[in-house]
């Protein structure tokens, strides 16, 4: 294998993990935009999605497409429920208070999964059976192709949704000023619920791709991609949809390249170092807008 092929393969590795980060980061960003809170339980919604798909296919023996829809619905409903129970009562509290509740929610979901499914990893056979292809000597696994396609499609759809539809502009209005949004006739509670539903549905998709990649389900599976995606969302400019995408993919690629060509041991340090440098140069993230504050 020559250097070119090796670099290409490393790039593809990064691109694939990066797109999964991106998908999760999209959910983070949307929820952040509207609730002004870092939803620490978001990563655990991925975990619930993984178990839901597993249960759908085994216990309920649903056909694959139905199982996927089932997973998405479960997560969306879970997202709404979390918001209603744990965040809504705190609408008037500081965003930090909600952050802590979100952390509590994350513990809660993890311990529930632990009690129900135990800690032993459940093996899960990938539902993606597409064969990989080889271009110019570079192996491109099927899952990489699917992941990239799905992520790109979702990002485009989401961007259109937010910028072109009425519901999308309602979301943006609510994220700016809830009271004023209500004065426009926007149902604030429903808009917030909808945002959580969409964010969680994205997490479900991410969860499905994630377990197809790693083929194992544990109660803590959401923690790592959760925090990485959070970093990605901020890197790209939190609140920005294309930002989440760019941030996720960049994070994946930097991670993979520094592991491959600099030092596996310092990969994390390098990834975070890049993040710090980028934010110092561009304090609102790559594509984030600096909030206009007129003096």
């Amino acid at each position: 294998m020559n250097l070119f092929q090796s670099i290409m393969e490393q790039l593809l590795n990064g691109l694939r993990t990066g797109s999964i980060y991106a998908l999760i980061a999209l959910g983070y960003s949307m929820v952040y935009g509207i609730a002004k809170m870092i939803n620490f339980a978001h990563g655990d919604v991925i975990m619930v999605g993984a178990y839901a798909l597993f249960m759908g296919m085994t216990a309920l023996s649903l056909p694959l497409p139905v199982a996927i829809i089932f997973t998405i619905v479960v997560c969306a409903v879970l997202g709404i429920a979390i918001e209603k129970v744990a965040y809504k009562p705190l609408r008037n509290a500081s965003s930090l208070a909600v952050l802590i509740t979100a952390i509590g929610m994350s513990f809660l979901l993890q311990s529930l999964a632990l009690i129900i499914f135990s800690a032993t990893p459940i093996p899960f056979k990938s539902i993606i059976s597409m064969k990989g292809i080889k271009i110019a000597g570079v192996d491109i696994p099927g899952i990489t192709i699917i992941t990239l396609v799905v992520t790109t499609a979702i990002m485009v759809a989401l961007t259109l949704f937010i910028n072109k539809t009425k519901a999308g502009s309602a979301m943006r209005a609510v994220s700016e000023d809830r009271g004023a949004a209500a004065l426009m006739g926007i149902n604030v509670n429903r808009t917030i619920s909808m945002t959580f539903a969409i964010g969680s549905a994205l997490a479900a998709v991410a969860g499905i791709l994630y377990i197809c990649q790693y083929q194992s389900i544990t109660p803590t599976l959401g923690a790592l991609p959760g925090i990485k995606a959070f970093v990605a969302a901020v890197l790209g400019g939190i609140g920005s949809i294309p930002g989440a995408m760019v941030g996720g993919i960049l994070l994946g690629i930097v991670e993979s390249m520094s592991k491959a060509y600099i030092s596996t041991e310092l990969a994390d340090a390098i990834v975070f170092g890049v993040l710090v440098v980028i934010l110092l140069v561009k304090p609102s993230g790559l594509l984030g807008k600096l909030k206009a504050e007129k003096v």
Binding site: E176, A180, A182
Partner: protein, 236 residues
């Protein structure tokens, strides 16, 4: 029958009672002014009427419908618009997007465009700046935007909270002309103003508020010549 009627309203902020049981009415086609000193409770009343804060006691009716407990977004669909204190424009959305949101409850695409044109006519500055982020507009420009945004919903009644605040003298004139225009075109107006003189000069009727209670009410012309009003609110 009154278009908007408020009866025995009481509103609390935590332990503090801001509105201490007051009643008033606005009839269709009227311009009614609400005047009073800082902290008298004018803003609180408007917020309660449009459902942004809950009332503890009392009843609010709009066109015969009880809206006391209705959520804010519902009330808008009944035909009530509110130009809030402090403008509350969506700072990170463009002027155009702000205006479009004003028509959120409407579905008639074509007519929305017409209303937009009409508003651009009234406020040419908004058309010039339609792609600027609302947060970077000057104070006066934001006030125009807030007013334009409220008008986008083609309301039956419009509640305005100190629309002349921070505006240049020429524009104060202009705004009051616009308010008169709006009223003339058939929209009922409930106007809260510090600029009592101006407010009384265009209003049909007025209420004078003091620490959460109505102390005086009547014909605007009569109040304008009332000695106590003159002394307390007109600075004469």
């Amino acid at each position: 029958m009154a278009m908007l009627s408020v009866k025995d309203l009481q509103v609390y902020y935590g332990m503090i009672q801001a509105i201490k049981g007051l009643s008033f009415e606005v009839n269709e086609g009227e311009v009614v002014a609400l005047i009073g000193a800082n902290g008298a409770g004018k803003t609180t009343i408007l917020h309660t009427v449009t459902g942004l804060i809950p009332s503890k006691e009392g009843k609010i009716e709009f066109q015969g419908k009880d809206i006391t407990k209705a959520p804010g977004h519902k009330i808008v669909t009944y035909g009530m618009a509110h130009v809030p204190e402090g403008r509350r424009v969506f700072a990170n959305l463009s002027v155009y997007e702000n205006l479009k949101l004003g028509a959120y409850t409407r579905n008639d695409k074509k007519e929305i465009e017409d209303t937009l044109k009409m508003i651009y006519q009234r406020f040419p500055r908004l058309e010039e700046r339609k792609n600027q982020m609302a947060g970077t507009l000057s104070g006066g420009e934001q006030q125009m935007l807030a007013m334009g945004r409220a008008l986008m919903s083609q309301p039956k009644i419009i509640l305005m909270d100190e629309p002349s605040m921070g505006l240049s003298p020429i524009f104060v004139e202009e705004i009051f002309k616009i308010i008169q225009d709006v009223a003339a075109s058939g929209t009922t107006v409930l106007l809260v103003e510090q600029n009592a003189k101006k407010a009384l000069s265009i209003a049909n009727r007025a209420y004078v508020l003091e620490t959460g209670k109505i102390v005086l009410e009547g014909d605007a012309n009569v109040l304008m010549n009332d000695e106590s009003v003159k002394k307390a609110y007109l600075g004469e």
